[in-house]
Symmetry: C2
Subunit: 205 residues, 2 copies
DNA sequence: GCAAAAGTGTTGTGTCTACACCCATGT
DNA sequence: ACATGGGTGTAGACACAACACTTTTGC
């Protein structure tokens, strides 16, 4: 029997997101966010790896640790993956989720908020995009992740000015309806980088 | 005896900062960051409150959960307090800390980084400043927290434009050496508010 | 030629830093 | 008067959104 000073159960939970066809989707397992309980002396990431195929993810970061309604602790992680590399599973649009535990719903919201914020001051989009892409394709990904419309023109200018994107070789042939062939781009870096560190109160020159 | 599937010890750790005489200081307890081990079914904040006088703090937010070198888990919190309300204790300038455990040193660094980032896009300065203050006094606080020089002129303009600061009644009488009496200001809000949400990729009008 | 899609030029707006200058007080 | 610290005016740099316009393709 566990006495009153023994620690509680601790769970690692993954909120894994992808941008698919203009919609942000979250991966569910048996109708809930995937999670695993920590074994003794097990690192958090190891437990997370038992719940989610972490090696497939392009970016993982910790969200927060909270006390669940049953008094167990849970540490939640945000995972991002491009559709092309996304593992098979029960992907659900974040806008129309089935009924989740209150904690899980809050975590999905925290993940969406975190992603939205980081898209505007980091290069985290790399983790949702394929190796190369057109600006139109990237626009669809950003639209899904930001959950508001994005102009392709300005998206290109902002990301190129910040040196987040660079040209890749080649062009994408137009579809049957014609149109100018689109240039291919890629993210300059495949890991997280802060690109707009100080909005104000920069250090003096 | 604890078997191999029983959970590990979990600690709540506080990284409490204040800005004192142009220096950012952290509160130590017995030469280390204050911490307390969670009892069974105890909320994280309750354990933190046993280690730190949370009620004195003007702002508290979770930093991260990590695995300590002894395999125990720890959830760290950032706490901010104005010097005037700061509890007595072993306050040390962050620039010249005694030798700390590697985990604790990393947490202090994480706290400094978090504070610096949030100062530039939120009103979090309220948690380091007294109820009313002159721009010069606030400049000293920002200089300490940002760890770089700050122009009083621009500080005032940025914070007033963003409606983070507002005028308070009265003026501060000049010192013995003369000078124009300084206007008093106060933070418009006493809780965290994001003031510069989207640096780029704003939603369309 | 015409529609469609991609991409560039340009303008206007807002926010920031830097610095010159003016203001109000003590001695 | 003059030194001292407080505060404003203003100019220049930059980043951004919006939108008109040009380019390149399929049919």
């Amino acid at each position: 029997m566990i006495d009153s000073t023994s620690p509680d159960r601790h769970e690692a939970i993954g909120v894994v997101l992808r941008a698919c066809e203009g919609q942000l989707e979250v991966l569910l397992t048996s109708g809930a966010l995937p999670g695993a309980t920590l074994a003794s002396r097990e690192p958090l990431e190891a437990a997370l790896a038992r719940a989610v195929d972490v090696s497939a993810l392009a970016h993982v970061e910790q969200l927060e640790t909270l006390v669940l309604s049953d008094c167990a602790l849970a540490t939640a992680y945000l995972g991002l993956v491009p559709v092309e590399r996304a593992p098979a599973g029960d992907w659900r649009p974040v806008g129309s989720l089935p009924r989740l535990a209150a904690d899980h719903a809050a975590l999905v919201l925290a993940a969406r908020t975190r992603l939205r914020a980081k898209l505007s001051y980091t290069n985290v989009g790399f983790a949702l995009a394929p190796a190369t892409f057109t600006i139109s394709e990237l626009r669809e990904i950003y639209t899904a992740a930001l959950e508001h419309d994005v102009s392709a023109t300005n998206l290109q200018r902002v990301l190129v000015r910040r040196r987040v994107l660079e040209r890749a070789d080649g062009r994408r042939a137009p579809g049957r309806t014609g149109g100018r062939p689109a240039a291919l781009f890629r993210f300059r870096l495949g890991r997280l980088e802060v690109t707009d560190e100080f909005a104000a109160l920069r250090p003096p020159r």
